[in-house]
Symmetry: C2
Subunit: 205 residues, 2 copies
């Protein structure tokens, strides 16, 4: 499946999110690429083309059975089981992430929180013990964790990343505004509010 | 400038961020597209092509003068003055955003915080008074605010967005995992950790 453009893969979770809203909040059973596209600001042709990479999910006239498409997208995105996640960093952002109710219904669960600050270690956040980063490596190996979220100071982020990668983590969501060096088989996704805002200011004035 | 692909615009803040690191943390004066590319995991040809949309910034052999390129990128991205920002939502994430030290050095300042929860209104976060969302419209109009960050519950996010847009906001960073409907002249950028993680799980296993 590696010949499918990453930008297409990036849209699948958006489709999944909206389909779940249609099913669970609006109690709909079927939808169309037109309806989905209108709700997401994406053309219906784009949606049909994106989905066609993975098979035939809808029919001319009847459209998509929402629950079936949800199931298929979850299979494609490897969301048929819950992913346990390590969180590194128990500052303000770490607290917000640990307390975020949106992970579990969508396939993820932060199960361990680490920090290097002695005044935080031993405390709790969202019911989880804050452990020393010294235990990061052994926890990841023992629990076979593949995903991590990083919310630490810039000065330590590459060292933390190296530890995560050595321990077997294969996907990192990085909230620290700096590029991470990782091997090719490790995924990194970046979240930096300032780069997002600077992209928008280009279009202002 | 609107004929420049948005994906190019999206890379400029990444270049700016790395150039500032080179200048301020490593005290470098010059760099090359090769050095920049290696540090960012982007090809040097891509960097040269991206920058060529805006002029001639480097020379064969000598490369880029970092401070000059920083200045030019800040002009291109409309970062020659600080942008005041409204934050709507004073929950865990709102607290993390209000306390985030990374905005001000990069051109943004959260100056007002709003919430609808009576138990929060009148309190403070990061030294700012938490005001009622009822005052959102008048504040934005009076202060001529163009940018907003939203971190509110899903159920109210479109109503808040409508108020922001009616009041004159032209760029929104949305932390709520739902697509927003806005007029064409309003920019929206999305931050949803789960869609980012679901994009990565596609490549795992």
């Amino acid at each position: 499946m590696s010949d499918i453009p990453d930008i297409v893969i990036g849209r699948l979770p958006i489709y999944l999110r909206e389909l779940k809203r249609l099913a669970h909040e609006e109690n709909k059973l079927t939808t169309s690429s037109h309806e989905l596209g209108k709700r997401l600001g994406i053309s219906s042709a784009q949606i049909r083309k994106d989905l066609s990479h993975f098979g035939e999910f809808g029919k001319q006239g009847t459209g998509y059975h929402i629950n079936y498409l949800i199931e298929k997208l979850q299979e494609i995105l490897n969301l048929t089981h819950e992913w346990p996640v390590v969180l590194v960093g128990a500052g303000y952002l770490g607290h917000a992430l640990a307390n975020y109710a949106g992970f579990q219904p969508r396939g993820f669960s932060i199960k361990w929180v680490f920090d290097s600050d002695p005044s935080k270690i031993g405390g709790t956040v969202a019911g989880l013990n804050i452990q020393s980063v010294n235990e990061l490596k052994s926890t990841i190996a023992r629990e076979n964790v593949k995903m991590a979220i990083i919310a630490v100071p810039v000065s330590v982020v590459q060292a933390i990343t190296d530890t995560l990668v050595e321990s077997g983590v294969k996907a990192i969501l990085n909230y620290v505004p700096v590029h991470l060096n990782v091997p090719e088989d490790v995924q990194v996704s970046y979240s930096d509010p300032v780069t997002q805002m600077q992209r928008m200011t280009f279009y202002l004035e």
